[in-house]
Symmetry: C3
Subunit: 467 residues, 3 copies
Amino acid sequence: MLLHDDRLFPADPVTRGIARRLFAAIRDLPIISPHGHTDPRWYAENNPFPDPATLFVKPDHYIFRMLYSQGVQLEQLGIPRKDGAPVETDPRKIWQIFADHWHLFRGTPTRLWFEHAASTIFGVNERLTSENADRIYDKIAAKLEEPELRPRALFERFNIEAISTTEGALDDLKWHDMVRDSGWGGKVVTAYRPDSVVDPEFEGFAENLEKLGELTGEDIGSWTGYLAAHRQRRAYFKQRGATSSDHGHATARTANLSDAEAEKLYAKILKGKVSAKDADLFRGQMLTEMAKMSLDDGLVLQIHPGSWRNHNAALFEHFGRDMGCDIPTATNYVEALKPLLDAVGNERNLTVIAFTLDETSYSRELAPLAGHYPALKLGPGWWFLDAPEAMLRFRELTTETAGFYNTVGFNDDTRAYLSIPARHDLARRVDCAYLAKLVAEHRLEEDEAAEVAHDLAYRLAKEAYKL
Amino acid sequence: MLLHDDRLFPADPVTRGIARRLFAAIRDLPIISPHGHTDPRWYAENNPFPDPATLFVKPDHYIFRMLYSQGVQLEQLGIPRKDGAPVETDPRKIWQIFADHWHLFRGTPTRLWFEHAASTIFGVNERLTSENADRIYDKIAAKLEEPELRPRALFERFNIEAISTTEGALDDLKWHDMVRDSGWGGKVVTAYRPDSVVDPEFEGFAENLEKLGELTGEDIGSWTGYLAAHRQRRAYFKQRGATSSDHGHATARTANLSDAEAEKLYAKILKGKVSAKDADLFRGQMLTEMAKMSLDDGLVLQIHPGSWRNHNAALFEHFGRDMGCDIPTATNYVEALKPLLDAVGNERNLTVIAFTLDETSYSRELAPLAGHYPALKLGPGWWFLDAPEAMLRFRELTTETAGFYNTVGFNDDTRAYLSIPARHDLARRVDCAYLAKLVAEHRLEEDEAAEVAHDLAYRLAKEAYKL
Amino acid sequence: MLLHDDRLFPADPVTRGIARRLFAAIRDLPIISPHGHTDPRWYAENNPFPDPATLFVKPDHYIFRMLYSQGVQLEQLGIPRKDGAPVETDPRKIWQIFADHWHLFRGTPTRLWFEHAASTIFGVNERLTSENADRIYDKIAAKLEEPELRPRALFERFNIEAISTTEGALDDLKWHDMVRDSGWGGKVVTAYRPDSVVDPEFEGFAENLEKLGELTGEDIGSWTGYLAAHRQRRAYFKQRGATSSDHGHATARTANLSDAEAEKLYAKILKGKVSAKDADLFRGQMLTEMAKMSLDDGLVLQIHPGSWRNHNAALFEHFGRDMGCDIPTATNYVEALKPLLDAVGNERNLTVIAFTLDETSYSRELAPLAGHYPALKLGPGWWFLDAPEAMLRFRELTTETAGFYNTVGFNDDTRAYLSIPARHDLARRVDCAYLAKLVAEHRLEEDEAAEVAHDLAYRLAKEAYKL
């Protein structure tokens, strides 16, 4: 039996007892997944998932970054090279490599996510080893052919009440249309992610702007036309269920220029050859513009700052983006968010959700900011911080200043569909463990903790994201 | 029963047993409150406190910042606007809003402080709810009229051995004189807080300097006269019991200019139109000057750096200072304090106490500095860090490098008089919990832990602050 | 009985039981000490150690920094002054001061290290006090005269399988030769520490370069000659067993200049009067050069950045280096290491081990970097972070992202020979405590934890350092 029913609960019997009771009452609540990266095509076409390696190993940068760090080459894992040079194509061989290195994931969330999926979805209740790799591969592969393993069936089985995908501003959202037109009842919404037409340093920015103009019929040669184009695309996304926009900038920097200054800056941006400073200023200005648009259309604004994308130059050159080499950097919020907060921070009908990869900002900056500004809420542990110890630190470092109610529940933020129940299970357990400690130490009474547990698992995400 | 006798003690029975024993021996020690912001007028006039809302809600920025973050407007809480526009005046309505939002404080120290005061002072032993708000209001209001609820009676009941208030350099300290002349025996001292005449960016700095000149008869047009004026005011404060000065600067920056350079800088400052850089340099220079004066007059120097005051521009405009929107910033000490430490850091008869709002400096900078320089001590968790989890982290992050004896016990640092026993109770409990863990893990023996507990609760504050 | 057999294990009985079992299986494993500062002369000459004060107090900057912080003068501890002014010479008096201040070390690792050595090596099983100081002094002094207290006998008794000392690039390594030629079987290797000929700001840099030229016969007037000289010295060190180089720079900054740029920079450096910026660039370039040499000669590259050396100007002036006043500073790795990682980070046959004094980089920077780059590994808690709470935080903050297998086991990094078993004992206990928690919370199974415990205590250090 791999999955112990008390996993992640503190060992002390009194505290564990409280955690069990709290968790029992929320473990079966529907999943609200307000931010993530699953592929809408899955829900649209409802095709079976391919083999175990393509399902578990190849798309998961948590997995291949760890294997790579220990000497496995991406080619061995079947990751396509940009130069088209041959890479491994036999999923069984890739799976074997994964199994041979399974010990590397001890103490990591990948271990917990994988074993949860393996056990609950595929009935695999033994530890993955070099020896049983083949047998487990067969078991999973066989299961994948069954109808209840199709995306929509899993959606229902996972008890997902609503899920958001994330699409670029230029996306036609055809898969979302197809889901809607299919008559299937699953709630799959999109989110507006305009980085490619907001960040002057994004690959192909100029062409992206042109496409934005074509798509919307707005004159992107002018600042007002450019803003109108965004408004139009936001409306288009909103029609496909979007309740939020999302912004992945290198820093949390915001700006609030006068119209004249903004116009001038945009004109400079249009000409190309933008300095790093101007690019940063423009991204910052656009965050505030987006917040102002949110005042009108109600989209929730998410800021995901502070990742140094594609840090490994050679890997980026040979394999492209998202190869497990995005690295967090120190992120300042107090100065960076001030222009946006000065503009809209006191709005009670706006929700801006700040995320971080830099834990040092939790108690120093983010909790004090979110514990004061009506518009600002604190996103859950993101990326490297989406693991038990880090999630516990998130609560320990933010609750005393911002409370529970300036946070917004859990985001699984994943492209690994099968890990969604595992991730929510983990988040619910960690929150119950934290609450159980408060109760055991007489800092909170158990009936209150039960209400908070329910809020963190379900209500806060639903309300903050309007899902 | 709201207040459990084991609150804040670890759940493990062995550790809890040790914590209980350690705490039992120190829970009734007198309170030394060496740094805080209670109003000396209370002790001077000994008038009754007003209604529950004015007592608990309106003056407590922990409370109204949280309510504000969740959409309550300051006007609804009766906070006066600078433009004189009407605000709520019915304390019962304000109290009701507080009660309606009581769940927001789950997991925060406000919850613990309020329930301690409610239970021990007012006999309120039920949780505040929308439904019982009125009844509890009445109970507290009735109690407030009784003579044992007067400031001096509470002082004695709280078992306060000594308390320090904080006054600006230009204060006439008349309330302290009145306390002294009253014949009442309570030890209420002041502390010298010269920010308004040391910080060129302080509102009204030029006028403040003039007043300083008038008050002291010194020629504040000259650097030597300006320093002499400080010396005189420090002596005036010392006569009213002051044993410390306190400095709330934006950064921890210090400087140690030559006399000629300092004179030149002061001349520049006097002319007005000071650059941010010069202002920062001047504040830094004045910290060192104050430390040098401390060598003569023995005042303990407290540095409270790293708060971005009045971060919310609109709130500052409409309501003024101290509206719950001061936000911590990253604070460097190693470079910042070097000039001061080079000047006086090796003095064994000087005490400089450094505080921080930036926990990242605890293990990296402050513990190593305080664990080396004879003059430097580490202040307790301040402001947002004055809560159970944060206080525990303070010990975990500093003790291994600086030990217990380079810290100075607890500061309640509050303007909320009724929360003082609660805050000291909390600090004592958290320290006992930490010590109990050391004992349970055989890193310290229990008789030693008992001595340390006593030192942290009483002796270190008394000695460091000479109270 | 001072040393409890369960010390440092969590109090919860279930967790403690697991920790005990894990520890029992590894407590007697041989010691691999791959990085440290013991004196090779001890092993070469095998003379008795002197008196207790000279053994325990005078060379240990953990001890004298704490005593100094509380008003003890270095002269009282017999630390020689540069001006030759008299200092205490009676070791018994120094010992008495140490004993009189023993309470200062409560909660610090010094306490644990000393009591382990006192008990296991000297049979001292009572707490040090002012009263028993003399008696304990006598007991230790008597024991020191016995043959089993000689360095080589202790080496065997400590069960040291291999130990590395650290020598400057100009060292003749004669003690290592003497050890080798002695026929004694203890494995004592050196490590190449070229700071004095790599850092243009090092005292006597120009003379050091000249000596480097003389020693190697290379033309240090040219960049290629300078590099050749390093290569030669590395080979010389490698012949004396070196498997690693070590670099103690103020920052983690690296650079990867073109040959022409590097040559030009070196020419500038040679001329003297180097700007701080150029000095930093040169140090950074040399880290990358060293990494490239490691590709050829296989030495492991260790980077120990981020210490502000000799922060206390007066102490440095009067007593010189290493007086307990080196203070950590904030250290950035993501930008700093990029040039080196771009050059060699994807090499699977290279090992670069990064250390830090800045815990904030663990989860934000170092774990994500080490969890991706094949060449990069994470060194254990260093210096102020080499203590129980800090070591636990190291695991909590790095394991979820980098796993266990991108770390390299333990370094005692000490010049205090007698503390080596204590330090390894402590590290093994803390790791077992961490693993026991994972097992108790069903995040890892006990057989896996046992394997990890063995790896952390022995195998990872042996493999990473090729010992």
